[in-house]
């Protein structure tokens, strides 16, 4: 692994410790992110427990087809991300680059789907406001959560895609030799964004099915 030393940064004495450090740091950031989303979920849980019927009515209007496709896309992207990290660890350059590209592409496909879904929602005026088609009023609250939750998730995913592309470029241009330390953090982050979606999916899409 001597050629991998180009990825070593201050103040780390060696790559193995650096990778551990980056992983640990990212997990700590994720613990922070968990609390970020926990606040959102807590709000959802409180309101749902007092407006169960309204939330059921409201979530029956989400686009389950788009939601389900997106779930599959993200699960698959997690697969390619895992393989990318493991390939990078054993310095399989070709496979790493392929899997990184696939991950970014799946992420982008998710965003496209999300965009189409938003378009569909807006066509039905499902944005809280004076012309909101559903009643009782608490349905607006559900849709408030819908827009905030999916919006924040999409922002996280966009950030993820950008970082994946950055790592891809670094590897592709050989600025940094292919190895796991550089992308350890990215991989963990990507899986986290996926996990968040796994919670959003039942909360937003499945809650209102018959």
């Amino acid at each position: 692994m001597s050629d991998a030393a180009g990825a070593l940064r201050e103040p780390w004495p060696n790559l193995q410790l650096q990778r551990q450090g980056v992983g640990l740091g990212m997990w700590m950031f994720l613990a922070s992110e968990v609390l970020f989303f926990a606040a959102l979920f807590c709000g959802y849980a409180v309101y749902r427990s007092f407006n169960a019927e309204a939330f059921r009515i409201a979530s029956a209007h989400t686009e389950i087809v788009y939601g389900s496709i997106n779930t599959v896309l993200l699960l698959t992207s997690s697969l390619t991300m895992t393989v990318a990290l493991r390939a990078a660890t054993v310095q399989l350059r070709g496979l790493t680059l392929f899997c990184l590209a696939a991950t970014a592409a799946l992420g982008a496909a998710f965003l496209v789907c999300k965009g189409l879904e938003y378009h569909e929602d807006l066509k039905q005026h499902l944005f809280p406001g004076p012309h909101f088609p559903l009643s009782p009023p608490a349905t607006q609250m559900f849709w408030g959560f819908y827009w905030i939750m999916t919006g924040i998730h999409a922002v996280h995913l966009t950030g993820g895609i950008l970082v994946v592309l950055l790592v891809f470029t670094l590897f592709k241009r050989r600025t940094v030799p292919v190895q796991g330390s550089t992308m350890e953090g990215v991989a963990i982050y990507w899986h986290f964004v996926d996990s968040v979606w796994l919670v959003l999916y039942p909360l937003l899409y499945l809650a209102g099915r018959p």
Binding site: P11, G21, A39, C42, Y47, P128, P137
Partner: protein, 559 residues
């Protein structure tokens, strides 16, 4: 960990230049990843904001001399106390000790060449600047009038001021403290030097560890609550809108889930600083080191479970009031233990009266008063009578200003020779420390009294029976302002004309003192190794019979 060698540590014969000589251009400072320089960037920015926040409250105190006001409209008054709160909490107190002394001292204390992620460290400062830019914009565009607590529905639907920009500033600066927290946690976990075991960590390092944990876990919840407020205000998404079935109390729950632990973010580092100062200037081991560590941890964790005592009259359920009241009493126990331990540290010491020690004693006294009045507010019936009154204002200022700022000043003076290599004027420093303590008490003791008598907070016009107390308080604020300006002058003076400091002017034992002052860029001249317990000022269980300072042995070996 023990076999790690640090390739970035310089060879033995390296020396000469300190971190200050690594570049003299502005650009070299703005692009630095050296934790010591970032600490100085932070120190300059928070000092600036401290004085902006100070001017805001100076105007408020001046206005309050008369029960019917002197020169402000009610809207202007509301904006001034709001901006004072926002700036002092998020742009001064939260980053104060961690981002300056934590950044500078922590890696040296544990024998690390730098923090774990130096570039993230620089990013955190830029995030701070970004958040600060929003806040300055708010200030210039007419201010915000919600109070620093941003309660809906006032902030979401009724306020006519720039709420979103203010929330954005706090949101961004929140990520700066998360970045700092992650960095410190990873540093303490991964980069301790050989021999620096967990229970050899100085208490300041422990306090940085706990405070980082609190920052990392609490701040995101604030970010989310402000995001929800902004979404409601900007897009009309009815999250806290009672007309759609929303509950404004949910915001308060989320807000205080952060903002109560935020009080510990402010006070825990202060506890760390004064532990160092007490040990050094009493020439004693900190009494009950193990208990001190565990009480830090307990405060950090239990501090997350007490937020509801801010909501006793808010419409929370009586059962919740009872539970939060109970937990609030519990969290006071470790704080009390710390007060007793600091006091006991003085026993059989060789106590000196240098400026850092006077500041630390000021901290001890004010923290005791602040903590004890906290017990009043944890008792539901008294809290019902005094919440949202000046009693609460005085209570949290005693902790946050009396406690944290005193400890901040203690730390600044203690580590000033380390950071700058210069000695400040001892007489003026002692004078400023005593003035600060007196000024503080004159400012806030009247507020305790009038709060208990029934003076509500955030009042522009007030019943004239409280005028005498307000005048006293404003007079104290003048003394306090002078006391805050004095260090600015004599510390700046010392930079240019101060006597050159020896490497370890206090004969302290911490690892950070076993290297030249100011330290070289890589912190140590050769890889440090720790071979003793912290605060090794005397033999175990025994004080020195003589006051011979040279007998203090360094904790480590790195010079």
């Amino acid at each position: 960990m023990t076999d790690v060698t640090l390739p970035f540590a310089p060879p033995l014969d390296a020396g000469g230049g300190s971190y200050l000589d690594e570049g003299h251009t502005i650009l070299s400072w703005l692009t630095t990843t050296d934790h010591k320089r970032i600490a100085i960037l932070y120190a300059l920015s928070i000092t600036l904001f401290f004085f902006i926040g100070g001017v805001a409250i100076g105007l408020v105190r001046l206005e309050l001399i008369s029960p019917t006001g002197l020169f402000l409209t009610s809207d202007e008054y509301n904006r001034l106390f709001t901006i004072h709160g926002i700036i002092m909490v998020w742009f001064f107190l939260v980053p104060s000790i961690p981002a300056t002394m934590g950044n500078f001292i922590l890696p040296m204390m544990i024998g690390a060449p730098d923090v774990a992620f130096p570039r993230l460290n620089l990013l955190s400062w830029y995030l701070y600047v970004g958040g600060a830019a929003f806040t300055v914009y708010v200030l210039l565009s007419g201010g915000v009038d919600t109070g620093w607590t941003f309660y809906p529905p006032f902030s979401s639907d009724y306020s006519h001021s720039n709420v979103i920009a203010a929330a954005a500033g706090v949101f961004v600066v929140g990520f700066s403290s998360i970045a700092t927290g992650v960095n410190f946690l990873a540093t303490i976990h991964m980069l301790r030097c050989p021999g620096m075991t967990w229970f050899r960590l100085p208490l300041f390092a422990w306090s940085m560890y706990v405070v980082s944990m609190v920052m990392v876990l609490a701040t995101p919840v604030l970010a989310m609550s402000l995001l929800l407020i902004s979404a409601e205000r900007y897009f009309g998404l009815p999250i806290f809108d009672p007309r759609a079935g929303g509950d404004p109390l949910l915001f308060q729950h989320l807000f205080w889930f952060y903002s109560h632990p935020a009080v510990y973010i402010m006070i825990l580092p202060a506890m760390g600083v004064v532990s160092e100062v007490f040990a050094c200037f009493a020439r004693r081991r900190v009494f009950g080191y193990g208990f001190m560590v565990f009480s830090l941890m307990t405060i950090g964790v239990v501090g997350f479970m007490v937020w509801g005592h801010h909501m006793f009259v808010a419409g929370q359920s009586p059962l919740a009031n009872l539970v939060f009241s109970f937990l609030s009493f519990i969290v006071a126990v470790p704080s009390a233990i710390k007060v007793f331990n600091w006091t006991a540290t003085l026993y059989r010491g060789h106590i000196g009266f240098e400026a850092p020690m006077i500041y630390a004693l000021g901290f001890l006294g004010l923290f005791t008063i602040g903590g004890l009045t906290g017990l009043f507010l944890a008792s539901v019936p008294i809290d019902i009578a005094t919440t949202d009154s000046y009693f609460v204002v005085a209570h949290f200022h005693t902790i946050m200003v009396g406690g944290t700022v005193s400890a901040f000043m203690a730390g600044i003076h203690y580590w000033w020779p380390k950071v700058t290599g210069k000695l400040y004027n001892e007489f003026w420093a002692q004078f400023a420390a005593i003035t600060m303590f007196l000024g503080f008490n004159v400012t806030f003791l009247p507020q305790f009294v009038m709060g208990w008598l029934g003076m509500p907070r955030r009042y522009h016009y007030y019943p004239d029976v409280f005028q005498i107390w307000h005048i006293l308080s404003s007079g104290g604020a003048v003394i306090l302002a002078v006391a805050y300006l004095m260090p600015l002058v004599y510390l700046t003076w010392s930079l240019f004309y101060g006597e050159k400091s020896p490497g370890n002017p206090w004969h302290a034992t911490g690892l950070e003192w076993q290297t030249p002052s100011p330290p070289p860029k890589s912190n140590f001249l050769r890889p440090p190794r720790v071979n003793a317990e912290p605060y090794d000022y005397h033999d175990f269980g025994r004080a020195e019979e003589t006051g011979d300072e040279s007998r203090a042995r360094p904790q480590g070996d790195a010079s």
